[in-house]
């Protein structure tokens, strides 16, 4: 209080606006922390130590110090800064150029002492509002943080479950693979040995080519998987495949269930783990390459539909589980609950849909097809809060522009909701998303409030 009073006293003698320089004899604009450097009636040494001037040159509206420290209360120095005490709110530094520019910057009005601007002291009101909102935020943070603990707990359990399931699936799968192998042997022995020799030759040549192409196709395949995965549940169902007529091998305009199965099976020759890395079956690259080979097996496949169907389910099942376990769900897997979920926001024109760790899309409200605004890329927050921003990229391409991409900003909230979307730049979307998973352990409310006021 005494400091505010002092400042008040110091600023009583304001020069009126005149055609001549404004003379201010007191160190206006000096923060408490630097007060000791401005000792009245003693020579003033610029804070950078570069030069020393008589004290009447401090705040005399002419810049003498290189670092601007002789004019803390006027706009004379291009690199100076002005300190507002803002009693009742937060103290602040503003650039000197905002002193007497006719615009109220300090809530205590001290920056406009000679401009004719009529400023109201709004510090108390602002302080009250800020305390209120801080209080609300603190409550949210508190509750959010509790929810987060729960999420962490659940995630831990879920993770264990899934690992177990995966092991189990991998076991069953191995059984199935053995069965398939047995069937194949039956089939192969029934076939002409000459043909077999020819095939082997073709295969060796083919594989070499595929190896190169496979790398290139990887990204595309991932996209294709997600494209096929219409309901974004992480699984490609037969029904989903059937909706994609471009996959119809016999071009009869419909995809039979059998056809979809054939297309989605990893080939026997192909290493299972390799395909699983591809995160799904691709209609465009991978699958087509095995088409002819699998075609040879078509008959035996057909006779063993049930085995194959089981294989399909299990393969994709394995793949998805592996994929899920492989995600970075945060330091304590607190974001795991978002996996396989989707959150929507309706605007006047579009419905936006965020499926965390999967994709972002946009669909016109009144008809029209969905647009892919980006596929899960990575966590993209700044170093100290990596998990505050998600980046989705490689969305649908823009005309003469980049592929669409979306940045998702996460803020602490009790609910998990998409709160806003925008397109700050063409095809670069921004989404605001609240979730308890980013809530930090709350400091005590008193601490928070104390940190923001200086009375």
């Amino acid at each position: 209080m005494s400091c505010a009073l002092l400042l008040l006293l110091m600023s009583w003698a304001l020069a009126m606006r005149t055609g001549a320089a404004v003379e201010i004899q007191r160190p206006r604009g000096v923060p408490l922390s630097s007060e000791q450097f401005y000792e009245e009636n003693k020579p003033f040494t610029c804070l950078d130590g570069f030069s020393t001037i008589s004290f009447d040159r401090v705040n005399d509206d002419y810049c003498d110090c290189r670092d601007g420290s002789d004019e803390p209360g006027t706009a004379a120095c291009p690199n100076g800064s002005f300190h507002c005490t803002n009693a009742g709110f937060r103290p602040a530094f503003i650039p000197s150029s905002r002193i007497n520019d006719g615009i109220c910057d300090c809530c205590d009005t001290t920056d406009e002492y000679n401009s004719g601007a009529t400023c109201q002291n709004t510090c108390r009101e602002m302080g009250r509002k800020e305390r209120e909102s801080l209080q609300i935020m603190a409550e949210i943070t508190k509750e959010g943080f509790m929810l987060k603990q729960q999420l962490i707990h659940e995630a831990k359990r879920g993770q264990e479950d899934k690992q177990g399931k995966l092991t189990e699936l991998q076991g069953s799968k191995k059984d199935l693979e053995e069965k398939v192998e047995a069937l194949r042997t039956v089939k192969e022995t029934a076939e002409d040995p000459e043909k077999e020799a020819k095939e082997r030759h073709l295969k060796a040549w083919g594989e070499q080519k595929e190896l190169i192409r496979m790398e290139k196709d990887k990204t595309r395949m991932a996209e294709a998987f997600l494209e096929l995965d219409d309901d974004a549940d992480g699984y490609v169902s037969v029904a989903e495949l059937q909706s994609h007529l471009e996959l119809d091998p016999d071009s009869d305009g419909s995809l039979t269930e059998t056809e979809t199965q054939v297309r989605c099976l990893p080939s026997q020759e192909n290493n299972f783990y390799h395909t699983s890395k591809l995160q799904g079956c691709s209609p465009f690259g991978e699958i087509r390459r095995f088409e002819s080979k699998i075609g040879d097996l078509h008959d035996s496949c057909r006779s063993n539909e049930k085995v194959w169907a089981g294989g399909l389910w299990m393969t994709t099942g394995c793949m998805n589980l592996e994929k899920e376990i492989g995600f970075d769900f945060g330091p304590s897997a607190e974001f795991a609950y978002l996996y396989s979920q989707c959150y929507e926001l309706s605007t006047s024109e579009y419905i936006y849909r965020l499926c965390p760790f999967n994709r972002v899309s946009q669909k016109p409200k009144f008809g029209g097809s969905e647009t892919n605004l980006g596929l899960w890329g990575q966590w993209a927050g700044p170093e100290d809060s990596l998990y505050s921003v998600m980046k989705y990229d490689h969305g649908q391409g823009c005309w003469q522009g980049p592929n669409r991409s979306t940045t998702v900003k996460l803020t602490c909230g009790k609910e998990t909701v998409v709160t806003s979307t925008s397109e700050p730049s063409r095809c670069e979307y921004l989404m605001e998303f609240t979730t308890p998973a980013v809530c930090q352990e709350p400091a005590s409310l008193d601490e928070v409030l104390q940190g923001h006021t200086e009375l």
Binding site: P78, S97, Q400, G401, S422, S425, R426, C427
Partner: protein, 928 residues
């Protein structure tokens, strides 16, 4: 989101590659009249002056010309105009119907001076042009005009015999009347004077394209048939010609032999290329010729499609050249020949005889007026983008400038701010509270520009459309219905801005109660005013569209001029005539300078486009339009960070300083490229703001006397031939020389500092350099090479704030750069920065600052004026000074006070501390 319509248009109608689709625009060969005219080669003119018809009055000489081939007569009018100009007008003596004469471009009927007849014989007449023994010689057979000074020919007309005037005629429709001769008698009767009985046949040839012309899928009906005109000008002793904007080409015009002529036809050219003579958005048919001896100008007042051929005698001697050799006894005199070809109208040409560049600028200004004096804030920095998406976006960008401490004055809204491209409206979702937004800007003493294009959505629920339709204000198609074409809103009508009633109505739409959501800090941008018609021939209006009785053909290049005029008048009216308007337009014509600013249209984020911004704005400045700029950063494509920084540095020293970007490009507000680049851009913008007092003073002069703000070096050093083709550096006024870095990865550049015996001071380091030298300057990414001329005084405001309005009352720092003779002078101009009170009520301060005999003084240059400023003199920096023993300030009240000072001996810089005297009073500082 990009409107689906736009996607459609861009994808379907326009090229998808990064280059102009030349096929969309005509070459001379594809423009029937240009092809016809260009097929005529230099030779004996068929025109003969009928000296017996000569009439000489106080104001003019008239004389009939006859074409000996077809006996059609023309009427020649010659005027001697005040200020050393000659006007030559040629029309048909008895045209079938009136031919278009350009209205509204000349600010008045140019005052004349009497011509006196010096001698006359059967070969011609000699008239006195008054000053400097200048004579105008009219030769009868063949007809030609020569303007001479002493024994020197300054300029000749029709000396190459290319005067060609296609008279109006009645169509002999071969389809209807295969004989084709029946109507002949009456046709000719209409055209010919009584004695012209004999008919020549050449004229009767009907060539393709005379009565109908098809380009791509568009057919031009040409109901009036052929009507083109052409005239040649020879300029002995001239090797350099300039002007005739707008072209993305070098400052010094090139010869057009073997290529297309320079074309003047206002067009919306998608992704234009640099260094070619293709037409662009605006047209100013004014050419300047320059030699070490003399500067002259040719103003071809015609608003139809125009082509300009330029050749020089290095390619081969003309008839006139041979004559000249005889007269001057030399075969080495350089000569430039120019030929103007226009599709319709009359020949109305103003020959501005100079002799100095300054004289030519004054002469042209006396005809078409001077640069509008913009509000001071319009000279500051403008932040634009297609588009700032909504109110929140605007607020965030505004805050971004404050957060990064970068000043700006104007934020702009492109077409997406409207409700479905209905101009004068707001998108109800994105901009629900425009006044709140504008008030928010006003609270920070900033401003906004919204776009208002001249195409109006045809939509019966749109008030603007309904009113224009019901008042019959739309341009009509050849069939008489409202002309409609496609533009941003889809199907659109085009108001007939040539109609004064339409313009008055349009202006009234800017009233605060008409343009809902507008406020006094909102100004206007007229884009697409060529006009752009996406589905029209060459992306513009059909030539047979009708503006009242006239075809678009006759006045095409005037449309954009009228749009900007009506808009500027609207902004003036809404303030009751108090406030100066600010209107930016893309299309323009001679005289457009009176209404606002122009920019170089849709350029691209390429180094060549940065480079070409200099000659493009220099060319415009030479012909009256000083308020010129290019989109900083480039409109199409995305600039590299280096290019963006260099463009800010260049734009900060060009008159109109606005960043702009295409909808499809990533955001590029100055702080998006890391702290280092933000700092570089901040510094460039701050340099602009500090220099605003000088910019404002230059614009005051441009407004007052027509002198360009941004000048080629030769304007100030007319005898220095080294400067004649320089267009990578320029002068601001006469005292600042700027050579921006426009090369990628530059480590250094060579600037030419002109003036033998002069000195120049680097404005950043105060290093002194001698004139008349090529100076190598090492550069870094922060370098903007700028030099102040020794002998000049430049006022700055060192306290850069967040907008120019915030700096209004701030003190001045005077930079006094001494000449080798220890002399310097400059000016200080101050007014309220935004009203017409400087003009109406003489409320301004205009002072002369001069340094001589070791004393610096401020004296009133405008004793009749009156204005009070709060600004004072903060600091005086004297470059090239020696150390005084003391410095005394003397004020009018007789008081004397000692000033403290600091002297930097290494740079010879004397800094006087805080004179503190008001900027509006007399004072003297004496150094001892």
């Amino acid at each position: 989101m990009m409107g689906p319509l736009l996607v459609l248009w861009l994808a379907v109608c326009l090229s998808g590659t990064w280059a102009v689709d030349r096929g969309n625009f005509k070459t001379c060969d594809q423009s029937a009249f240009c092809k016809r005219q260009r097929a005529l080669k230099p030779g004996q003119s068929p025109y003969r002056a009928l000296l017996e018809t000569l009439e000489l009055t106080n104001t003019k000489l008239t004389l009939q010309l006859i074409n000996d081939n077809n006996k059609v007569r023309l009427l020649l009018e010659l005027y001697r105009l005040q200020g050393n100009m000659t006007r030559v007008k040629i029309n048909e003596l008895k045209p079938l119907k009136p031919r278009f004469e350009v209205p509204d471009v000349l600010i008045n009927d140019p005052p004349t001076e009497p011509l006196s007849l010096l001698s006359q014989d059967e070969n011609g007449v000699v008239l006195s042009l008054g000053a400097d023994s200048q004579r105008l010689i009219v030769s009868a057979k063949p007809f030609r005009l020569d303007i001479m000074e002493g024994r020197e020919v300054l300029l000749s007309l029709n000396s190459r015999g290319l005067l060609a005037f296609e008279h109006l005629r009645i169509r002999k429709d071969t389809k209807v009347d295969p004989e084709g001769t029946e109507n002949k008698e009456e046709n000719e009767a209409a055209n010919e004077p009584a004695e012209g009985e004999e008919k020549a046949k050449e004229d009767e040839k009907v060539e393709d394209g005379m009565w109908e012309e098809t380009f791509k899928s568009h057919t031009d009906s040409k109901p009036n048939g052929p009507s083109s005109i052409s005239l040649d000008f020879s300029l002995p002793g001239v090797e350099n010609v300039y002007g005739i904007p707008e072209h993305a080409d070098s400052l010094k015009l090139k010869t057009t032999d073997g290529g297309d002529p320079y074309r003047l036809f206002n067009l919306d050219v998608f992704q234009y290329e640099v260094f070619n003579p293709m037409a662009l958005y605006g047209a100013i048919p004014v050419m300047l010729s320059h030699s070490a001896q003399r500067t002259m100008g040719i103003f071809w007042l015609n608003a139809a499609e125009t082509w300009v051929d330029i050749s020089s005698n290095t390619a081969g001697k003309t008839v006139f050249g041979q004559m000249l050799d005889y007269v001057q006894g030399s075969s080495e005199t350089p000569q430039t020949d120019v030929r103007w070809i226009s599709e319709s109208g009359i020949i109305d040409v103003f020959i501005m005889l100079g002799p100095t560049p300054t004289d030519v600028f004054s002469q042209y200004a006396s005809l078409t007026g001077t640069q509008a004096f913009p509000p001071l804030s319009a000279l500051a920095y403008h932040q634009c983008r297609w588009n700032y998406n909504d109110q929140e976006d605007v607020a965030a960008v505004d805050q971004g400038f404050d957060d990064h401490d970068i000043p700006y004055d104007f934020i702009w809204l492109d077409i997406e701010h409207t409700d479905g491209k209905r101009y004068f409206t707001w998108d109800p979702h994105k901009f629900p509270q425009p006044k709140d937004m504008l008030q928010g800007l006003l609270d920070k003493r900033r401003k906004m520009v919204t776009i208002v294009d001249p195409h109006i959505k045809v939509d019966s629920s749109y008030k603007i459309h309904n009113e224009i339709r019901s008042k019959g204000f739309y341009v009509k198609s050849k069939d008489g219905g409202d002309y409609e074409g496609w533009c941003w809103p889809g199907n659109s009508g085009y108001p007939d801005f040539t109609n004064p009633e339409m313009r008055a109505w349009w202006a009234s739409m800017f009233a605060y109660d008409q343009y809902e959501g507008s406020m006094e800090n909102m100004y206007t941008w007229n884009d697409m005013n060529e006009p752009s018609v996406f589905n029209g021939p060459e992306v513009t209006m059909h030539k047979d569209a009708l503006h009242g009785n006239w075809e678009n053909r006759d006045l095409h290049n005037l449309y954009g001029f009228y749009v900007q005029r009506a808009t500027a008048e609207g902004l003036i009216e809404r303030s009751g005539g108090v406030e100066r308007p600010f209107v930016l337009a893309r299309a323009f014509f001679a005289g457009s300078q009176r209404y606002g600013a122009v920019w170089t249209g849709d350029n691209a984020a390429e180094w060549d486009h940065l480079k070409i911004s200099i000659p493009m704005c220099l060319s415009l400045g030479l012909v009256g339009v000083s308020f010129c700029g290019a989109d900083v950063g480039g409109f199409f494509k995305s600039p590299s960070t280096e290019l963006l920084v260099r463009w800010y540095q260049t734009g900060a020293y060009q008159p109109f300083f606005r960043a702009h970007a295409h909808l499809d490009t990533p955001r590029r507000e100055p702080w998006l490229f890391g702290p280092e680049n933000t700092a570089l851009i901040r510094e460039a913008v701050r340099q602009r703001y500090a220099l605003l007092p000088y910019w404002y003073q230059l614009f005051y002069h441009a407004h007052h006397s027509g002198q360009p703000v941004m000048r080629p070096l030769w304007v100030e050093y007319p005898q220095d031939t080294a400067t004649f083709s320089m267009d990578d550096q320029f002068l601001l006024g006469r005292d600042l020389l700027v050579h921006p870095v426009t090369e990628e990865g530059a480590r250094g550049l060579t600037a030419y500092l002109p003036g033998k015996g002069e000195v120049w001071f680097d404005v950043h380091t105060f290093q002194k350099h001698n004139g008349a030298q090529n100076l190598y300057i090492p550069v870094t990414i922060s370098s903007i090479p700028v030099f102040q001329r020794g002998g000049s005084i430049i006022p700055r405001k060192a306290r850069v704030r967040r907008s120019s309005s915030c700096m209004e009352h701030d003190p001045y720092t005077l930079f006094v750069a001494l000449s080798p003779k220890r002399f310097a002078q400059g000016e200080l101009y101050i007014d309220d920065g935004h009203t017409f009170n400087f003009d109406k009520h003489k409320q301004f301060i205009h002072r002369r600052l001069f340094f001589a005999n070791n004393a610096l003084s401020s004296r009133n240059l405008a004793p009749g004026s009156q204005f009070t400023t709060f600004s004072w003199i903060e600091k005086i920096v004297i470059l090239g000074a020696s150390k005084p023993s003391k410095a005394t300030l003397k004020t009018p009240d007789g008081k004397e006070s000692l000033l403290e000072f600091d002297f930097d001996a290494s740079m010879s810089v004397l800094t006087l501390r805080k004179p503190g005297v008001n900027a509006g009073v007399d004072w003297t500082v004496v150094l001892q």
